[in-house]
């Protein structure tokens, strides 16, 4: 009951932090997608670079978020900037790999058909490769979005704002209501976004490729 009371009493704050959290995630996911998809396309053209590029993204992905923040702060300070950089770095593995796999796994017969129609490399990318790979790329964006919501929670500790603020404050002051007021919305946000992307993936799969 007291948890519900806390929610009602602090609804304005919780709403503000939720919006902050969404804002950080949306900015990070947008920039990450732009960078990750471009790199992903590039390594389909320069196949030799694929393994090292994906390997580096994999190593970055392995670094615990708190440690990555710890290594960024001495050079770029605290706040939104190191947060966005960390979120973007983490997202690269999912985005680069999915873009690369999505494009390289296109059925050879579809490739042949495009070439046979005399498409230029650019037309081929825009009209064949990207649309066919889109569901796989979307799955990468989905992974990145869910992960960023989680990492953004931790970024509250370095002044990025968002729902993590309530959790950290609640832990420090042993205030259960405050912890739950941060943890519950952020959990719902992550699950909700994940589900939203499931629907989006289904919607974006070209009808010819739908099972």
């Amino acid at each position: 009951m007291s948890i519900l009371a806390y929610f009602v009493k602090n609804q304005a704050l919780i709403l503000k932090l939720t919006l902050e959290h969404i804002e950080i995630t949306v900015i990070a996911v947008s920039i990450s997608t732009l960078i990750g998809v471009i790199i992903g396309i590039l390594i389909t053209r320069y196949k030799r670079a694929a393994t090292p590029v994906i390997g580096i993204a994999g190593i970055l992905y392995t670094i615990p978020s708190l440690a990555l923040f710890g290594m960024l702060i001495p050079f770029i300070g605290i706040g939104l900037k190191p947060t966005l950089i960390a979120l973007i770095l983490y997202s690269q593995l999912a985005l680069i790999r999915n873009t690369f796999v999505g494009i390289t796994h296109i059925d050879p017969s579809i490739r042949e058909a495009g070439r046979g129609m005399g498409m230029s490399s650019w037309q081929f990318l825009r009209m064949v490769e990207l649309p066919v790979a889109l569901p796989v790329i979307m799955a990468g964006i989905r992974t990145a979005a869910v992960m960023n919501i989680g990492t953004a929670t931790i970024a509250a500790y370095i002044g990025a704002g968002g729902l993590g603020w309530l959790i950290f404050r609640g832990i420090a002051s042993v205030n259960t209501e405050q912890i739950v007021a941060g943890a519950l919305p952020v959990t719902l946000l992550a699950i909700g976004v994940d589900y939203l992307f499931v629907l989006l993936e289904r919607y974006l799969t070209p009808s010819g490729l739908r099972h």
Partner: protein, 210 residues
């Protein structure tokens, strides 16, 4: 140069924090394996249950670690036990999923061959299914280990100790040397664990093919 000197002066605390970090993560991974592998096997026998368990595990994996850590406190308080509990909650999910998919994807004809040789269910499991799915299970254990090392950093907040203590202190005190002293070993620890277990996984895969 300044940092190297600072680091060297604090080598003992770095070492003890690293050992503590490894200890907490290791306990969590061992417990996760002990819970998740049997559970993963169990749901291959009850397929209806499998759907529910795998879907819940997938949803569970989207829950932010800090939220899990935070929600453990009202139930278990602070200290090592709640921290390990939170790590295990995180760690079991990838192992359940991989154990299940590893076993389910074992070639049916191999299992039939086992049956034809007169193997009992238990023998099929220990002599056929588990050895063949071991590389996939190992991949799950690898994911769980890297996750545990990462969440253990946050668990410093609820009194688990480890390298996270140094990083949190470094943030609060805005001390760049302390920040790097905590972060760099943490990063190396996670990357090393990933590479080592990745190597084990690769070796297992090669073994499974032969």
């Amino acid at each position: 140069m300044d940092f190297l000197l600072y680091f060297f002066e604090r080598r003992e605390i770095v070492l003890s924090s690293t050992l503590r970090h490894v200890e907490v993560s290791l306990i969590a991974v061992v417990l996760s394996v002990a819970i998740a592998v049997p559970l993963g096997i169990l749901i291959t026998r009850y397929r209806k249950m499998a759907h529910v368990v795998v879907n819940s595990a997938n949803i569970g994996q989207t829950v932010p670690s800090l939220a899990i850590l935070g929600m453990v406190i009202p139930i278990l308080g602070i200290g090592l036990k709640p921290a390990v509990f939170a790590l295990v909650l995180r760690g079991v999910l990838p192992i359940i999923n991989n154990t299940y998919s590893g076993i389910v994807n074992v070639d049916r004809s191999v299992i039939e061959a086992g049956r034809g040789m007169g193997m009992k269910n238990r023998q099929i499991l220990t002599l056929v299914e588990l050895p063949l799915s071991f590389p996939v299970i190992m991949a799950g254990i690898r994911t769980a280990t890297v996750l545990s090392i990462s969440v253990a950093t946050l668990a410093a907040l609820i009194g688990a100790g480890g390298l996270g203590d140094l990083i949190f202190q470094g943030i609060v005190m805005a001390d760049r040397n302390l920040l790097l002293t905590g972060s760099i070993p943490t990063a190396i620890l996670a990357i090393a664990a990933d590479l080592i277990l990745g190597g084990v996984e690769k070796r297992l895969r090669r073994g499974a093919v032969q």
